[in-house]
């Protein structure tokens, strides 16, 4: 099993957001996590990535069988966890080239590998840029600075392609995208899928799932996964709305 989350409780500044999440993800799978605003979807993503101030008060996060909840965020990334940000951060003056090269080489160092040569790196940049249809001018621009919403999200998928993680968690990658950009992003994610990696897409809408077809759909509600099903669950949800979930839980 790639990721095994057991009874995960997470608090932010003393307020409990996740109240016992269980989730199992195997290699080769695509999972979708859906749910209304403020139920803890982004908290779950950030807690797995190890964000500061996200305090695990109970439970375990096992990645490849190893409990990672005490590991620094960079170590989790080096182990193969990638988070596609809902709001990608601007880093003025730092070129994407420099940013990616630093990231790749720190990850390689962690695995006892030599730094990538400049030629290898540039070749890889070029190759992966095509995947998300971004222009070659990108590499000299500062990370996310002055990017449009669509460019920022494409840039997230581009970085995912560069880093080749075992587990990618994409937090609301579809928000703010027009249909063309959505297709490009989804297409990129699909192309990156292998039997050795897994993808988790966090989304509000069923729309994205027309393009990235999940093996499992989970509904997160009030800090817990309250329902799990196949891709048809997303349609049901779209049709009936979240009120339907509330009813079902009560009933």
């Amino acid at each position: 099993m790639l990721l095994n989350i057991k009874d995960l409780h997470v608090s932010i500044h003393g307020k409990e957001i996740l109240k016992g999440v269980n989730l199992q993800i195997n290699k080769g799978e695509v999972h979708a996590i859906m749910g209304p605003n403020g139920t803890g979807k982004s908290t779950l993503a950030a807690a797995v990535a190890g964000k500061d101030n996200y305090e695990v008060t109970q439970g375990e996060i096992l990645f490849n069988g190893k409990d990672i909840k005490e590991l620094a965020p960079e170590v989790r990334a080096q182990e193969g966890i990638f988070l596609g940000f809902q709001y990608p951060v601007e880093i003025p003056g730092v070129s994407i080239n420099n940013f990616m090269r630093t990231a790749i080489n720190e990850i390689r160092k962690y695995h006892g590998q030599e730094a990538m040569t400049a030629a290898e790196f540039l070749k890889k940049m070029k190759e992966k840029q095509q995947l998300v249809e971004i222009t070659s001018k990108l590499k000299n621009r500062s990370v996310n600075e002055g990017f449009s919403g669509g460019e920022k999200k494409k840039n997230e998928i581009f970085q995912m392609a560069m880093l080749e993680p075992q587990l990618a968690i994409l937090d609301e990658t579809d928000s703010g995208l027009d249909i063309d950009a959505l297709k490009i992003v989804a297409n990129g994610v699909n192309k990156l899928k292998t039997k050795d990696n897994a993808t988790v897409v966090i989304t509000h809408y069923q729309r994205l799932l027309d393009y990235i077809v999940p093996d499992f759909v989970h509904i997160l509600f009030d800090g817990k996964i309250v329902m799990t099903g196949g891709k048809e669950l997303a349609f049901e949800l779209e049709e009936n709305g979240y009120e339907w979930i509330k009813e079902k839980i009560k009933g």
Partner: protein, 482 residues
């Protein structure tokens, strides 16, 4: 988690100052303290002409009546000027003819600092004047430069070989008696570099002076004078390091630049004097006067500085824009960490018509340090159509440091435009997390973000220097984030 933050904050600078070693070389000292005798001793040691001795003595008399300035946003412990050795020099047996005659210990010192004095190894095409304690030990490439009529040698040597040039230009940008520390330098300056670029000559290599304080209890008072004659150009680099010692050492240098019509001088500094221990013990007091005068029309002076060292920095590289259409620039990155203090900035004095100046200052404070920008933009009565743009940004790491901005503006001509922009920001947790999530460690992330922040200034530096400066910025801030 807040506890963790605190811990990280407290674990300041894990990396050691790389240049903290001392070299065991035979050194000759002046008696400790400062009297008229000391001034005469230094002048005699240098075999100086009478007029220069008089210059020194006059300055000394003036200095004795002056008081140390206290207007800067600095806490300067009292300095006992009688407890300093004003002259220390590696013992020289005779005039050096070739590099083989330089003390191998000295060569080793410069090799450790990453400065090769062996010309054949100098692929980068930089001519170096190396100054250790009070004396210039070796100037490389002199002969090549001489072919272009360029004079580049130690100040003492220039006093002997080109007394007329020295007499003509010394004190033209920083007049004798200008301020407390420059006047002290006037009296006791030991050595430094002199550079003269004749009319119409573009200096084919970067010129560089490397300063090293080695001996204990000594002050370093070097003097640099650069003159670019009509339509001449030179790019000049300055680097400095010092051993790690518990007591503070005083460094009071003066740099003067004079540009004639259509001439341009680019002066870059990477200042890495020993900053003191992380508890704030020791370190260099860097009280430096740097000023250039654009004497001729259409001339240009550009200062770029990366300041990471010194316990206390007091330094305001300035331009007097006397010639019409002359241009002054100041690009600065100043980093303070632990208990370092810096009060630095620039003065742009517009006198001529259509003069323009730019000030870009990036301050980065970490630990318990205090970092101040202080600048003056003055438009004189005749400075018709003068233009200035100033941008002063401060970046804070942690919550125990301070950043301050003191801009002074004095406009006496109504046709002038003066713009000032300032920002203060903190490295955001979001930025750090974003980097870390991509596998980049916290220290590397800080290095990356800070270098990005300072890019506008770093790109002004010559290539080799820029790489050094980038590394230096990262190292100076290692372990400083919370």
């Amino acid at each position: 988690m807040a506890q963790d933050e605190k811990q990280i904050l407290d674990e300041v600078t894990s990396s050691d100052y790389k240049y903290g070693f001392t070299t065991d070389i035979e050194t000759e000292y002046a008696a400790i303290g400062l009297t008229e005798e000391t001034v005469r001793y230094i002048s005699a040691k240098k075999n100086e002409p009478e007029w220069l001795l008089k210059f020194r003595l006059k300055a000394f008399a003036k200095w004795q009546k002056m008081e140390q300035p206290n207007w800067a946003h600095l806490k300067i412990p009292e300095i006992d000027f009688q407890d300093i050795i004003y002259y220390a020099a590696p013992k020289k047996k005779k005039e050096l003819e070739s590099l083989d005659e330089v003390d191998p210990e000295l060569l080793d010192t410069f090799n450790k600092l990453g400065i090769s004095l062996e010309e054949q190894k100098m692929l980068s095409g930089v001519a170096v004047d190396a100054v250790i304690d009070s004396v210039s030990v070796k100037t490389t490439f002199s002969d090549t430069l001489a072919k272009h009529g360029i004079v580049f040698m130690s100040f003492s040597e220039a006093v002997q070989k080109h007394p007329d040039l020295i007499k003509q230009y010394l004190g033209k940008a920083v007049p004798m008696g200008d301020n407390f520390f420059s006047t002290l330098n006037d009296a006791v300056f030991s050595d430094g570099s002199f550079c003269y670029i004749p009319k119409g000559v573009r200096c084919p290599v970067e010129l560089s002076t490397y300063f090293r304080i080695n001996a204990a209890n000594t002050g370093q008072f070097e003097r640099t004078l650069i003159v670019a004659d009509e339509n001449a150009y030179v790019s000049y680099l300055e680097g400095c390091t010092a051993p790690q010692r518990d007591e503070n050492q005083l460094h009071a240098a003066v740099v003067e630049i004079i540009t004639m019509k259509d001439a341009e001088v680019k002066y870059s500094t990477v200042q890495n004097w020993y900053p003191g221990s992380k508890e704030g013990k020791g370190g260099i007091y860097n009280f430096v006067t740097k000023r250039g005068i654009c004497k001729g029309d259409h001339s240009k002076i550009s200062w770029t500085q990366v300041e990471t060292g010194s316990a206390i920095t007091w330094k305001y590289p300035s331009c007097i824009l006397a010639g019409d259409n002359s241009v002054g620039e100041f690009y600065s990155v100043a980093v303070t960490n632990n208990y370092q203090q810096a009060d630095t900035g620039s003065k742009m004095i517009h006198l001529g018509k259509n003069t323009s100046s730019t000030i870009i200052s990036k301050g980065i404070s970490a630990g318990h340090s205090h970092n101040s920008y202080r600048g003056l933009v003055k438009m004189g009565r005749n400075a018709t159509n003068g233009r200035n743009f100033s941008q002063c940004d401060s970046l804070l790491l942690g919550d125990k440091c301070g950043a301050h901005t003191f801009p002074y503006i004095d406009g006496q001509n109504s046709s002038c435009v003066i713009e000032h922009e300032a920002t203060t920001s903190k490295i955001s947790e979001e930025q750090l997390f974003y980097c870390q999530q991509r596998g980049i460690s916290q220290d590397s992330a800080v290095g990356l973000i800070v270098n990005g922040y300072a890019k506008e200034v770093l790109k002004q530096l010559p290539m080799e220097f820029a790489v050094e400066a980038q590394k230096l910025l990262s190292i100076s801030l290692e372990g400083s984030v919370g």
